[in-house]
C-alpha cells in the first residue's frame, strides 16, 4: 500500500503536525528536522495523495482565457475547443472562463488585465499582440499572484511566464522548405500575404520563410509582405494588384491565421493549380481548400492541445507542481490532404 503522511511521520521520527508543516512549507521547523522529513520522503517513496489533498483543501482553480475579439475562424475553433473541454475540466474542479478582448487595443487589454486579481481568478491565458503596455500589465498581474501563460504569440523580453504555442520562426521555415520543394526547379515569384506585419508571430514566420528561400532556392523570389488588415475587400484589391504587377507568380504563402479571404481572392484571380499555396492553421476553410486542391499544405498547431496545455500548465502552477515537459511542447504540424486525420 502507498505510504501516507502517518507512515511518513513514523519514518521520520516526528509527529504528523511536523510532517504537515514541512509538506506545506509552514514556518517553525528547524532546518535539520526539515531535512530529516525530506530524507524519509525519499526513503519510503512518499507521494502526496492528490485526491485527498484536493478534497481537504476544497480549492477550485479559476482560469480565464483572454482572447482577441474577432470573427477569425481559428479563434472560433479555439473557443469551441475550450467550451468542449470545459465539462472535463469541471470534473477536476477547474473552472474556465473565456473573455473577449478588443483586438489591437493595448489600452483595453491593459485595463482588463489591471482589473484582474487573485481574488477572482487564479490563472490567465493571454493571447494578445505584443506591446509594452500589455507586457507591463502582465508583469503586474503576476506580481499580484495570478499565474499567466502566453498563448500562441508571446510578449517579447525576459519571460517570467510560460509560453504555449509553436516556434513561429520554425513554422515559417517549414513553410519555406515545403514551398521550395514543391516548386522544384521552377523559377518565379512567391506572394506573401499577411493580415498585419505588426504582430510578432507574423514577423517571425516571415523571417523563417525568407531564410530558407534565400539560402536554398535562388530560383524563387519572395515578394514583400502584403497586408490585408483583416479586410476581405482590401485582400482582394492587393491580390489583384499583385497578379497584375508580377507576371510569374508561382507560389503563395499566407502567414496569418485567417487564410480564407486571401485564399478566395487568389483562387478567384489566378489559376491555383499552377501554383503552390501554403497557409496556416487548420480551420474549416483551410481543410476544404486542402481537399479541393487549392491549398498544397497547411502549417498548423492543434487548438485542442493549446487549450489543454495552457490549462494543465496553469493548474500545475497554481498547485506548485511540475508538468511533463514533452507533453506541453506544441508541435508544428504539416497538413496535406492525406493526413487530415
Amino acid at each position: 500500500m502507498r505510504p501516507t503522511t502517518k507512515d511518513l511521520a513514523k519514518a521520520a521520527g516526528v509527529s504528523l503536525a511536523t510532517v504537515d508543516r514541512v509538506l506545506n512549507g509552514r514556518p517553525g521547523v528547524r532546518r535539520a528536522t526539515i531535512e530529516a522529513v525530506n530524507e524519509a520522503i525519499e526513503k519510503i517513496g512518499f507521494v502526496r495523495n492528490i485526491s485527498a489533498a484536493n478534497l481537504a483543501r476544497n480549492r477550485i482553480v479559476r482560469l480565464a482565457f483572454l482572447l482577441p475579439k474577432s470573427g477569425d475562424e481559428f479563434l472560433a475553433t479555439m473557443i469551441r475547443n475550450i467550451v468542449e473541454a470545459r465539462s472535463a475540466f469541471e470534473t477536476e474542479s477547474i473552472y474556465v472562463d473565456v473573455r473577449d478582448v478588443l483586438e489591437n487595443d493595448p489600452h483595453q487589454i491593459t485595463s482588463v488585465l489591471s482589473a484582474l486579481n487573485s481574488d477572482s481568478v487564479d490563472g490567465v491565458a493571454i493571447m494578445a499582440a505584443e506591446s509594452p503596455q500589455v507586457r507591463d500589465a502582465t508583469m503586474r498581474l503576476v506580481e499580484r499572484g495570478v499565474h499567466v501563460v502566453e498563448l500562441i504569440s508571446g510578449q517579447p523580453g525576459a519571460h517570467p511566464t510560460a509560453f504555449v504555442g509553436i516556434d513561429n520562426n520554425r513554422a515559417g521555415a517549414t513553410a519555406g522548405r515545403l514551398m521550395g520543394r514543391f516548386l522544384g526547379h521552377r523559377t518565379g515569384e512567391v506572394l506573401v500575404i499577411s493580415e498585419t506585419m505588426n504582430a510578432r508571430d507574423s514577423i517571425e514566420r516571415r523571417l523563417g520563410f525568407d531564410e530558407v528561400i534565400t539560402n536554398d532556392y535562388p530560383n524563387l523570389t519572395a515578394l514583400p509582405s502584403m497586408e490585408t488588415y483583416g479586410d476581405p475587400e482590401r485582400a482582394r484589391a492587393i491580390v489583384e494588384n499583385a497578379y497584375r504587377s508580377f507576371d510569374n507568380i508561382i507560389g503563395c504563402y499566407i502567414l496569418s491565421s485567417e487564410a480564407r479571404a486571401p485564399l478566395e481572392a487568389v483562387a478567384a484571380i489566378s489559376n491555383v493549380s499552377d501554383q503552390v499555396i501554403i497557409a496556416h492553421e487548420r480551420t474549416r476553410a483551410t481543410e476544404a481548400f486542402l481537399r479541393d486542391g487549392t491549398l498544397d499544405a497547411v502549417i498548423a498547431q492543434d487548438p485542442g492541445h493549446l487549450v489543454r496545455s495552457a490549462v494543465r500548465i496553469l493548474r500545475a502552477n497554481c498547485e506548485g507542481r511540475k508538468t511533463i515537459a514533452s507533453q506541453e511542447q506544441i508541435r508544428t504540424e504539416i497538413l496535406i490532404e492525406e493526413n487530415l486525420n
Copy 2:
C-alpha cells in the same frame, strides 16, 4: 459553491442512501426514483467530486503494456515515454507495468494473455502483430473483465476494444504524396523497404502508398516490397541487389518503424542527395538522418501521445467514464528538418 450529494438528495427529495444507490448503479431503486434523481442532477448541475470519490474508493488502477521484445529504437522510445510518464501517473493512483513479449510468437503472446486476469491487472495495452490466436486471447481477456486497447497495430475484425494509433493507410498515402511532390517531374523507380510484409500495418501503408503513386504519378514506378526481416546484413544485401538491378532509383520508402539499418545501407551504396527518401517514426536515427539531409521526410506518430492516450482510455474505461475523443485521435505527423520541434 458546487452542489454535493447532500444537496442532490434534498433537491431530489430522497435520502443520501438513495442518491448513492443511483449514482453508483446499485440495485433496489424504482425506475421512477432513479429518474427523479437524474432530473435533480440536471437541475442543480451536480458533478461528482472526483477527488472525494477517488479517496473514498481508495482504488488504484493497474495497467500493463505488452510490447514486443526487440532492440527496435522506436520501441525503446515507447518504453522511455512510459517510464518518464510513470511518476505522473502514480500521482493519480495509476500504476503502469511494462512487459516484454516475444516478437512474432503468437503462442507466447497468447500464453501471457491467458495468464492475466482482473485480480492482477485492470487494463492492458497490447502491441502485437495480428494473428487469430492473439485476437481470441484478447477477447477472452476482455471477457474476464480486463480492459484492453490495441496499440499501433490493431487486430483485425470486429473490435470490442479501442485502437490507439494512426490510420496506416493514410500514413502510406501521405508518404506517397510527399514522394510524388518532392520528386516533381522526374521519372524513375521508387524502392520500398519493409521489415516484414506480414504485419497489418505494413500492408496498409503499402496500399496507401501505391494508391497515390499509381493514380497521380505515372512517372514513378514503385518497386515490389523488399523485406529485411529485421536483419541488417540482409538489409544491406537486398539494397545492394536493388541498386544493381535497377539503374534509375530516384526514391526510397522505408515503411517499417525500424529505419536505421535500411537507411544506412542505402546511404552507403547510393547517392542519397539525388533521391527522395521517406521513413517512418521519429527516433534518434531518423532525426539525425533528417538533420544531415539523408532523409527528406518522416511520417510519425508521437510515442508520448500514444502512451498517454492508451492510459487515459484504459483509466476512463476502468472508471466507466468517457474520454475527449479529439484528444485521443493520434495524428499522422509529417516531419522535415524544419519542424523537428
